[in-house]
Each structure stands twice: as C-alpha cells, then as structure tokens.
Amino acid sequence: MDKNVTVTTFPIWKNAGPSTVDKPTIEKETRSEEDLDLPWQVVVHNDPVNLMSYVTMVFQRVFGYPREKAERHMLEVHHNGRSILWSGMRERAELYVQQLHGYLLLATLEKAS
C-alpha cells in the first residue's frame, strides 16, 4: 500500500476584495500517513490500589466531566479493566495522559482502530 497521501490545503486568496478576485493558489504537499493526525484514545487501566473516589475526582478535574460521567468511567475501569476517556488529536491526548500520570493513574495513549 502506498503510504504517501496528498493533502490539499486551504486556498490562499490574494487581494481579496469585492471587485477583483485572483485565481486561488492551491498548494499541494505530500506527507506520510504517519504524520496525519488520526484519532488517538486516552485509555485508563484498572489499578486495585487507587481509590474509586480518587479516580472519580481525577476524571472530573482532568476532563471537566460532571460527577455522574466521571463515576461511569471509573466503574467501567473497575469492572472492565479499562475505559476510553477521550479521543482526538495526538497532542491533546498526550497532554491528558501526562496529567493522568501526574495523578498516578495507569493511563495510555492508543491509536484509534
């Protein structure tokens, strides 16, 4: 499979105005598939030492989730061994994982399948 994909960026308009509009310049560049920001998931894994109330508080603080949603995720971690807390851009996911590690939770970053 060809791992190179073509990305078309937004047209750049020159001298944009009501009467004269130049032909848009369309820039093309080639990036490898790995460079594209595919969705990443922030996964929290079960740990029998961390208190349930503590994990709930951390989810509320890090993700800004309301208590009910934070508790739902905490229980999912507790019963299923893991829960996907968030998915999106890699940089933000990395930041969330870093924050969760700061609270001593077992958290990983995974590429969404």
Partner: protein, 169 residues
Amino acid sequence: MEICRRNDEIEISELDPFLAELLRQIPASADPEGTPAAEKRLFSPPTSGTETEICAEWKLYVEPELRRLFQTATETVAADLEQLDGNEKKIASTLRIPSKHADAWLSALNQARLVIAAKYDFTDGELGDHFRSPIGSRRDLSLFQVNFYGFLQEFILRELGGWEKGSGD
C-alpha cells in the same frame, strides 16, 4: 485518633505514637528507589509499548517533570509532619494540614500506597480485606499502612469536595 475539618485545616488529633509514626513514614514510604516494581508503577509507560518514539520522548521530557511533581508533594507533606517532631514519647499528638496542602497530601499518600503495594505485591483480595488482624508480620503492617493512608485519602477527598464547592461561592 480523631479527624475533623476546622475552617481551612484538617486536624488529626489524639494521634497515638503508633499512628503518628505511620504518618512520619509517608515521605520515606513514597520513595520508589531500590524497588524496581514500584519505580515501574510510578513511572509507567504512556503507551502499551508499540509506540517506541512516544515512549522515548516521554522518558526524556515527561518523566523528569513527574519526578519533580511527586517530590514537591512529598516535601510539602514532610514539612507539615515536622509538627510531630519532638512528640515521639507523647501519648497523643495533633497534626494540622492546611487546605492548600490537600493536593500534596493526596499525591504523597497515593505514592506511598502504590510503592508499598508494589513492594509487597499485595493481591486484590488482600487489598480489599479491611478487617485483617492482628498485625503479625511486616507484610500485615504494610497492608495496614496502605489501608490507613487510604482512609486519610478518603477523608481529604471528602473535605476537598467541600472546599472546592465553598471556594466557588
């Protein structure tokens, strides 16, 4: 032992020498050095292992920050625990934790619980057995320590909820 909230402080009073000693041990217990399992737990990888580039960057940039964060928390707790200095022989001591130190206490208590649990490789059953007694071995004592620190965490969390609500008023 009595624990209650007084204004902007958590007050732990009527501390007998045994529990006071367990509190004094928080900073030392939170140190993972010399226990590879504890080190591995506190500084776990950010991916399941397949993303080697992310793991390498993490080791280089994030891990030192986490070490500093954890150390700052234990230093704050160690400073609060100085209130107990010189009271080793007293029947009962009192410790006051300012509300602004609550996060540091939560972190240090959690670090200590994780390090002790990793060191003794406690099973889920042992960790869930809150009525295990009497303390007959170093392992039993360590399990008691984990549960005692957990009790303090629960109390601080409960009070923290109140403080956070209060601060928004």
